[in-house]
Symmetry: C2
Subunit: 210 residues, 2 copies
DNA sequence: CGAAAATCTTGACACCGTCAAGATTGTGAC
DNA sequence: GTCACAATCTTGACGGTGTCAAGATTTTCG
């Protein structure tokens, strides 16, 4: 509009172009921030657009709908989780048990520090995950990480012999279940008074390992 | 309004009173039905009201807001889950291992048959659970059921000696984690090709028991 | 340079949760 | 019984939401 161009001319505003440049990533970033500040129910396309400094329907140039933006945010979350897990695991490449424990710690920390991103990734907010190839890819890549650690533990006789993928689902399920119940406030205070989530998970995984 | 009373007079409509009689429960029931047919994202107060045959803001006579209705639906879900678990467990009162396995089966079946009710109960849709006493009560009552089964298993040396509530969080977490991952489509097909959820859980719990 | 494609804005639509005002009905005191 | 009051329900409005259509602006590329 003429007015905004005029004010842009006489008092040069800090880089306000018609084209954003990298709006797609800016929207994802804005989404993550809103998620952290207002939670899942506070996440709206219009707020994301506003925070990125564009009009309410600008996002439709980059995402066909809200679900698609949520998929992108979830994918970004998985990328971060994968990177952190990968880093934690490769720090103990000669000690499978430590890989398992530190991997679990990393998972817990990620869930605690990015609660609502974690929820978006795992709580059915994303309705048709299979429609988003990059989401499927990074999530199955993450699962393969778990399988590798499990196999290393089996080779070291720390976990019992069994199909590695099946055992991986057990281990991940155990970890994920406790974390999820905790985030939902379903772990009773009689337990939380004595142990934090970290300790509960350590106990549970300790039961599985030898 | 005069018109409707008139039509009620000349052609007797099937019991359309101004006062519903039991609207509160009708709304909960309608909510469960919509949940089953349209999923969590399809659940709106206005649809619930319409399905119950009342105006869009009639629910506010019984629930202060949408969260409160969701709490009621979740509570109802927990009541049903508790009843089914209780029934399954009391059917094998002399066999703790069977109690554990059948309880798990019941949990899985409930999640599969009432997927979206299960999600509402456990996926952060209900934002401040502690504000709803009857929800807190039935959910902690359910946890106590798990504790009882765990204790019975410990007495029979089926589960190792450890604080029963801690062990209960492990067992429930293991079960809940696998079910949740499965509902999210996070259990890879390489596993699902060979085993259904039932078998995966059986394997995982088998690892914990002796 | 100019046409086509990409990007962004404006405006509209139906739906949503919520509230205020008022209509209708049930209830209990007298 | 009746009459005031409480409970219940309707109507109408408000701002916020996701989404789409039309058009403005900018970039890209033949």
């Amino acid at each position: 509009m003429t007015v905004s161009r005029f004010s842009l001319t006489i008092s040069p505003m800090p880089s306000k172009k018609y084209h954003h440049g990298d709006l797609k990533n800016a929207l994802i970033k804005a989404g993550v921030e809103i998620l952290a500040k207002e939670g899942v129910s506070g996440l709206s396309l219009r707020k994301v657009a506003q925070r990125a400094g564009v009009s309410h329907s600008a996002p439709y140039a980059h995402f066909p709908d809200k679900q698609s933006l949520i998929a992108a945010i979830s994918t970004e979350g998985f990328n971060q989780l994968y990177a952190e897990l990968e880093s934690a695991i490769s720090s103990h490449s000669k000690n499978p048990k430590k890989q398992l424990i530190e991997g679990a710690k990393t998972y817990i920390r990620f869930a605690e520090e990015n609660t609502d991103t974690f929820k978006i990734m795992f709580s059915g907010v994303l309705e048709k995950e299979k429609d988003y190839p990059s989401f499927v890819e990074i999530s199955s890549k993450t699962f393969k990480l778990v399988v590798e650690v499990v196999q290393a533990c089996q080779s070291a006789a720390i976990l019992p012999a069994a199909p590695a993928d099946l055992m991986a689902v057990s281990v991940w399920g155990q970890l994920h279940g406790i974390v999820s119940l905790a985030l939902e406030g379903q772990v009773p205070h009689t337990v939380l008074d004595r142990h934090n989530i970290q300790e509960i998970v350590s106990f549970a995984i300790g039961q599985m390992t030898t």
